[in-house]
Point group: C4
Chain length 121, copies 4
């Protein structure tokens, strides 16, 4: 009960809308929190409906820091995810962290947000 997070997190509903407006791109963020004293090495794996998973995407999260990883930014993630395509992802970490998944969709001329704490084990 002193873990302060979990080592594996699951997000079934990933989606980067194809359209945007208001001068801000529709996007998703994988928001990670590491309250421990150690840097966390995290690995993302992306799952699709009709192709093999895209795995082995490694990032680090400093001790006592949050990081809101934009899933639409190749320069942050190291890979480019397709827009307009359903996907899912998991995050595995070597120290306990917490993952919350959020989306901003600006397709229809306004903002709409969604969020949920991911499923953790």
């Amino acid at each position: 009960m002193a873990d302060r997070g979990r080592l594996r997190w699951f997000v079934p509903d990933g989606y980067l809308p194809a359209e945007s407006s208001h001068g801000i791109e529709s996007h998703e963020a994988a928001c990670l929190l590491n309250v421990s004293d150690e840097e966390a090495r995290v690995t993302f794996t992306f799952y699709f409906e009709d192709r093999e998973p895209l795995g082995g995407i490694r990032l680090t999260l400093a001790a006592k820091r949050t990081r809101h990883v934009r899933l639409d930014r190749r320069d942050e993630l190291g890979v480019e995810l397709p827009r307009g395509v359903p996907f899912a992802y998991t995050v595995e970490s070597d120290v306990p962290v917490v993952l919350q998944h959020s989306r901003l969709d600006t397709t229809a001329g306004g903002y709409t947000l969604l969020t949920t704490i991911a499923y953790g084990e």
Copy 2:
């Protein structure tokens, strides 16, 4: 703790809005993730406020794949759910999976989204 999901998931707030706009139908999606090496056989049961449950709706989810099942599409689900009526549903699987429930409501001329990881056991 190596399950990577659960075998039973519960979503109490199902609702397919009766109206739509923006050229995109208001809808819900049951987003499933199967990170295992085996195909998952999942069974949906829909519950209503004033009638018997509608059960035995079987789908498959390939190994290492996600599937975002549109609840408003008879061709995906095998049954047609009523619009404008409160319902709920459960998903049972023979291998551990994760379920996230999402809705897009375009009734009022813009988009609004909701999501939550379902309750799992």
Copy 3:
């Protein structure tokens, strides 16, 4: 692990917006699912920031049914909750059920939705 729900549920963020538009009242719903073979007797207690709790509000939920209880309807709930005031609530049940909390806010001329599975014990 065969409970198919929990006996106590907690929702800290209750709020009935004071304003509405689009011909639909801003509202919240406590969406309950009872997959068991027995009727569930549930008790709602509402908590406020600056006054005593309002408890002992009893409803029933038939076996194998869902019920999306509108929190803004005195005729459904038996009490009238104030609008424009932060509150919270718990639901206790004599058989395991699942609770998801949702809000539709139409204050600003469009729709916005929020939802979460409640915290259960």
Copy 4:
């Protein structure tokens, strides 16, 4: 199982939008519920992407009360959080409580809401 809450809660996705409209400021609320017979002493710690955590922010939550703590109000929180900057936070309590995190974003001329029960341990 009679705890009626948890002692530590985690919210990875904190964000106070820099812009507002509709005469209502974009904001977040940490919605706490204390159903116990004792006052809860809670401590907030805020985490950032590129600076040291801001900790030791103490508030009280009376017995059998909710409190929806506005994160954008210095007079409620005792500190001023930056707008337009990703952050995260934890809440530690000396008696079990429940935390739900919500945001209202009015940047784009309408309302959009998000919410989730926090991750608790």
